[in-house]
Symmetry: D2
Subunit: 338 residues, 4 copies
């Protein structure tokens, strides 16, 4: 019986009586991948994807239909300035209105160019392994200050993942499975709803054999929170209440040996968090300890509607982040192909 | 005999005696796709990719080996400030050194966040259809000023391509085919070398059956210019002399009905340009008139080495741009999977 | 009797029955300074400041007490994203936490550096003469598109004002004169309160001889709107309802031949604007037609309290904008010295 | 005999035989202002300016002639990307070319807006007290990591200086005094020329009584390096060889009790630095230990020409930085009025 066995079926109800630090520490230890791929490893759970897995995943392309899982990147996005996170500010260096009046190029050529300023965590993104620390430690037993300085992540920067994130994607549509579809959006979970391991298992069971989750998979969890934001406006989408994974799913995330997980919410885990005074404790367990790649603010609604229609919840997925050297997160336009 | 027949075998040597405006106008007219997909079309040559093509392209994944075709995005990039294009400036909002000293989060959580400011054309990218105009006109017969204002591209912004660019990629390794490999980089063409239709055809012939180019393909042309920049430093990589496509290839680009083309150079076409006083005339023909998606500064060297080794020059390619609303270009991390 | 005589005592009550276009056109014509300083002029009303005025204004320094009239520039500012205007995003390139851990400099040196991204109109600022156009025309009879392209203001960029804005400042504390001081802030005008010429004259009369306004003066109008934002939060400070100058003050602004005017509000003129469907019509009259320099979001409260105490409303004022080449507005830290 | 007496006449020739760490430490100790203005002080040498000094300095305005001492802020500036420092990237949110085509405003209104992204140390600037550390310590005995984190300078941010920097300016034109005017620029010192205390004293003597330097003065040292950059291009202006103050002037800078010093060079002190392996050792002495405000890249040439002509080297100077909260440096448009 391993530490992981002890926590894999952690009862969410027990959290009320628990000490946050102890729970976080126990989960962190049980789920740790520190040293698993050698002390120089920088990839974490992306190690679960190999060429064979990728080759088999390509067979999942049947119709050839592609879905972009990215939000638009613009000023109408979810950010509200909190933690100095703005929406992307896109400005032009040259325009068509200029071109009509002449820009000094020969033979009738005209051109437009543009510029953007943005937080790397402003919209559809991957959290890099340097994004979160646990008691001053980063992934794989490194000191946080040895990894991420003002010059960026010197070790596990997002560029290390540039060529890796392509393989089998699986959609777990919890919003549709557990939520009621009262708004024609396919079902939405309530804010504050904590998705447990039992929920995940039941959803897989209900969705059928194409939803089996195993090593190297990229798991996409749809809560319906984004659909609600589309109906009601962003409001507190960034940082406010949301459905999301319970901290008690840490064992499942570790035992399945998935390569990555992504949700349609700002913060992946349930908010408010399950301990009164905690902040993103599941992040604290899975990023620096497990080395799990976490995607946030993914647009899963169109893909989910298609999966609901044909009953096939697996697909080929590429989600290669823009490789900003030393970044602790990065924008991505994930493409699912069924 | 169509206008396209007239220009498909345009003799590069004839350019010396030609009037630039007339040549550009003739090519623009012969290669035009204006109206081809209806007057409201915004996709241009991406229309050539459909689900069937994509489904067949997925069969090209054999080993499952993935190649990122993106340069690193950082201050060590090729930009030198010309046309207000800088390299990406990546800064931190929070760091590990801060986390070690305490950031005020409970239970030992620490975090790092980051920000970037950059031109959208600074590194590995797609030119959007609003990037270039011809005599004040944008793609599909629209007035440049109706399309691209200071608010961005209101019609053909890069977000329109978000879900489309995935399919069959073909590498034409002109650097290896025509260049001498005197530096162990696989072969490099000289700066100013104009790749003609004949060169393209001969390269396809030499590379063999996996290099056939047809409708909907995404063609990657490796010149070796990037390999040279790696040996010698960026120097004039951005905007200076480079090998690249001759303006006389416009007919071939149109007749093959490819979906997109990308090179390992700053500007796709040969530089200096083939007319004394012109500036990127092939852009002027293919972007606003043909609606061709053009990729620049792609890192093709690792992929090319692999193709040279196994003799297979086709692969699955996803190259989904970050969908900045209204952008006339966008960063991309293209992923080729063989 | 000149056109200016006709409009100098324009009755604000008459606006209800008036056609906006006609009123704006009449004011624009009557107040025009087009050609007044030659057709190549780029300074507008700053021409009213000369060395003699400046030399005399220096005599106003008596105690040597200096007041910064700038808001803090940070993420807690008034901007809310409207018109892609964010608050300044300030990030670090190096920090003290890094320095403590060692940055690789010799002999114990450490350093910190920083970066900012911001709209030039985000906080305490000058509007440049290229900021507003009237029917496609910029200041001094130039076509808007000949002046301000994507490359910036080619003619009247804020850099032209770099050495000019220093001289006599006069505070007209309308908030204190007309408002009730129910919050201990010195008095605040209601949102939507239109300050008329009569109000200005009465305030000058009430404040006494140090408040006389004449050629070359830089007039600061305190409404109390900023004080209210400090009490209640920014809310709609940027772009929402506010007290401010009535469009009927255009004649007074012109006749007094002041060099510049600044207020403690987002937009200088009363909001909602006095015509139902208009947007900043007083800007339209005074910037492109009169060439008046307008300052916005100035922090006048401390200065105003001092003036109320000693009864002296004139002072030496320097307000030299950061000379961003081609900017249509610029941040400034105005310094009043009494 | 104090420690300051010991080092005030430090022989520059002795540096060759000296240990850098010892010299820096001795100067740091002798010149320290730690605790001088109380342990909560954040202003450093700006404490030397008081209202009386300011009131007397205003008498220096005689003709009323104003000189902007700022460089233009644009892409043609000195930065080359080193240490992620770019030149300011200024882009437009709206333009006149857009306005001509209609922007949707009523009654013929049009507008232009703009944005900038830039390092705060990119052009004419003040170094804040949090810019440099000595062995992990910031100004006034504080730990570097307690002062400057990724959130900025929490203690001595440039906003603390917002209302202070106005008073008597004195120009010491070393370029004219010691250099030969072979280029019609008024005289330029050679790169690598170290200005010593003796040079400063002789220059003051030669320039006459208006050049006396005392408590609270803002001293401007012209080397001619900027004039050379104007003749020859920026080249290595940023970070490369330059004339500048010798580290042996530390004692003079301390004993005179000046409020601030600024030069027309990138880095204020001589470069290459006077110890083989050191980096900006005079910064290390004067900023964290003395609390001295240092200005860099000031444009002193027009002012210097005027001073040379009328023989008056003192003037009223305002140099109020844009108060970016928590900034360790800030752009400024200094205004000298004679």
């Amino acid at each position: 019986m391993t530490a992981l066995d002890d926590i894999i079926d952690l009862d969410p109800l027990a959290l009320d009586r628990a000490d946050p630090e102890s729970v976080i520490a126990a989960l962190a230890q049980a789920c740790s991948n520190t040293g698993r791929w050698g002390e120089s490893d920088v990839l974490g759970t992306l190690n679960h994807i190999d060429d064979d897995l990728r080759a088999r995943a390509a067979w999942l392309v049947r119709r050839g239909r592609a879905f972009s899982l990215s939000l638009p990147f613009d000023m109408n996005g979810p950010q509200n300035g909190w933690r100095r996170r703005t929406n992307p500010v896109h400005t032009m260096l040259d325009t068509g209105t200029d071109a009509e009046r002449g820009q000094g190029f020969p033979h009738g050529l005209g051109g437009a160019d543009d510029v953007v300023a943005m937080p790397l965590q402003c919209s559809t993104q991957w959290d890099g392994l340097g994004h979160i620390f646990d008691h001053g430690m980063a992934y794989n037993g490194r000191r946080a200050g040895d990894v991420v300085t003002s010059a960026g992540d010197q070790v596990t920067g997002i560029e290390t993942a540039a060529a890796h994130i392509a393989g089998r994607g699986v959609l777990l549509d919890l919003g549709r499975f557990l939520g009621e579809d009262t708004h024609g959006t396919g079902g939405e979970l309530e804010d504050g709803f904590a998705i447990t391991t039992a929920h995940l298992r039941e959803c897989i069971e209900a969705q059928g054999s194409t939803s089996q989750v195993g090593p190297g998979d990229i798991v996409l969890v749809r809560t319906g929170r984004l659909a609600r934001a589309r109906r009601e406006g962003w409001g507190q989408y960034a940082g406010g209440p949301a459905p999301g994974l319970s901290i008690t799913t840490a064992g499942w995330l570790r035992r399945t040996d998935i390569a990555a997980i992504a949700t349609d919410t700002w913060g992946f885990e349930v908010r408010p968090n399950e301990f009164d005074d905690s902040f993103q404790p599941l992040h604290q367990v899975v990023i620096p300890n497990m080395g799990l790649y976490v995607g946030e603010m993914w647009n899963l609604d169109d893909l989910a509607a298609d999966c609901a229609e044909d009953g096939i919840f697996e697909f080929w997925l590429t989600a290669a982040p823009i490789p900003f050297t030393g970044a602790v997160g990065a924008p991505v336009n994930p493409l699912a192909v069924k």
